[in-house]
Point group: C2
Chain length 278, copies 2
Amino acid sequence: MIQIKLARNYGFCFGVKRAIKIAENAPGASTIGPLIHNNEEILRLKNNFNVSTLNSVEEAHDIKKAIIRTHGIQKEDLEALKRLNIEIINATCPFVTKPQKICEEMSAQGYTIIIFGDKNHPEVKSVKSYSIHDNVHVVLNIEDLDGIDFTNKIALVSQTTRNADEFLKIADFLIISCKEVRVFNTICNATFENQDAARELARQSDIVIVIGGKNSSNTKQLYRIVKEYCKDSFLVENDKELNFSWFTGKKICGITAGASTPDWIIEKIIEKIREIKV
Amino acid sequence: MIQIKLARNYGFCFGVKRAIKIAENAPGASTIGPLIHNNEEILRLKNNFNVSTLNSVEEAHDIKKAIIRTHGIQKEDLEALKRLNIEIINATCPFVTKPQKICEEMSAQGYTIIIFGDKNHPEVKSVKSYSIHDNVHVVLNIEDLDGIDFTNKIALVSQTTRNADEFLKIADFLIISCKEVRVFNTICNATFENQDAARELARQSDIVIVIGGKNSSNTKQLYRIVKEYCKDSFLVENDKELNFSWFTGKKICGITAGASTPDWIIEKIIEKIREIKV
């Protein structure tokens, strides 16, 4: 039987646990965008707690209670929501509220804002929306810094779920190019810990299964990290996506999961892997 | 004859040129500590312009005009000097005034101050003295950061003449360990340019002669850099220190000089090397 090894740290982070508790205590409410990046868990909340998911604030006219997703929403969306005069329940992860505030304060102090992250990710969109000026740039690498005026003072923040090494590359480039860089390390600890543990796990495994939403930033980061150390690494959302042929000849299967992956999905997958005859 | 190659950038920087001009225009004045880190040039200023050098403020009682050295002096020394009611001529390099001000302002805002530099160097002593609290630490490497409380917000500055790569190592460590790091890149451009040029020069040379004061921080940095790329590298203050045996069998001799090394010393050395039969 294949040996299963769990990462030292994995799965639900503080912000996700908190958001799910909030949602379970607000039956009948609607979240603006998916509460967390995990379709299976969102389906569970719908089926067991009647918490539904809206695509945008525009769909919120007929609801009574709105839940703000863990990733936060854009400032203008929050204002639109407030005008609807409905109950607003804030499940924004406190670690996301931090870069929002930094973006607001630093822009008010005249800093050029650089956000290290994915410009299409809801968290980054929400953080960016808090800048009081347009001199705010979302970058994923040094090349993306091209064309930014470095004569102004610069504040750098990160999407909470990015890779620390890549963040440092950007910070270093800015430090050399600018007279002042204010670096706010807003990568959350759970991200750090899960990434470190994933690296350690991958080194010891023949195959690694990363469990999490395909639209989850932190899950994708975990996948990138393990892939570097163990080429037979696979990202799955649920047990149905497992392919038995992956496991042929493998002895040690490492398992890790994104911050929005519930334990019950992880358990189901482990159960299925245990059944595999290698 | 050995081929002589000069570094693309070397020698007198803006701050040193400015200080020498100031001294030449103040015959009879005394500097508090050596004006620049070059004994030969200081001797020239004494002989030709009657500008003498005092060891400390305590010796300044009988003078009429005091010149503040390029490296700056400690805040309390400046205040003592002011109480003497003599003319004070400030030759502090403007690039040193910058970290002094940063240290003062950031400490006033409650930041823990970290200075990357040599705690015994007059510039670092002067910068440090501008902190309004005692939470200021001088470090040369990551090990020196041991025991510093990282829960407070941190401001990082550099001695103007240090190596950029080592500065980044410390910055990176702080970024990962702290929630906020305010990084002020106070390494001066001349230092950057001279170091880049020295690296390039050393790669192309069989032997490199670095000319400068043995107590000059930027000269020592240049020496460390060229030594990495060309093992036959030597640091000399003047032509008398040249050893002809160093040049046996060598074809290309690279030459660079610290920011406080006057052209006349460099020229004398080149002349002497040209005479060597290899």
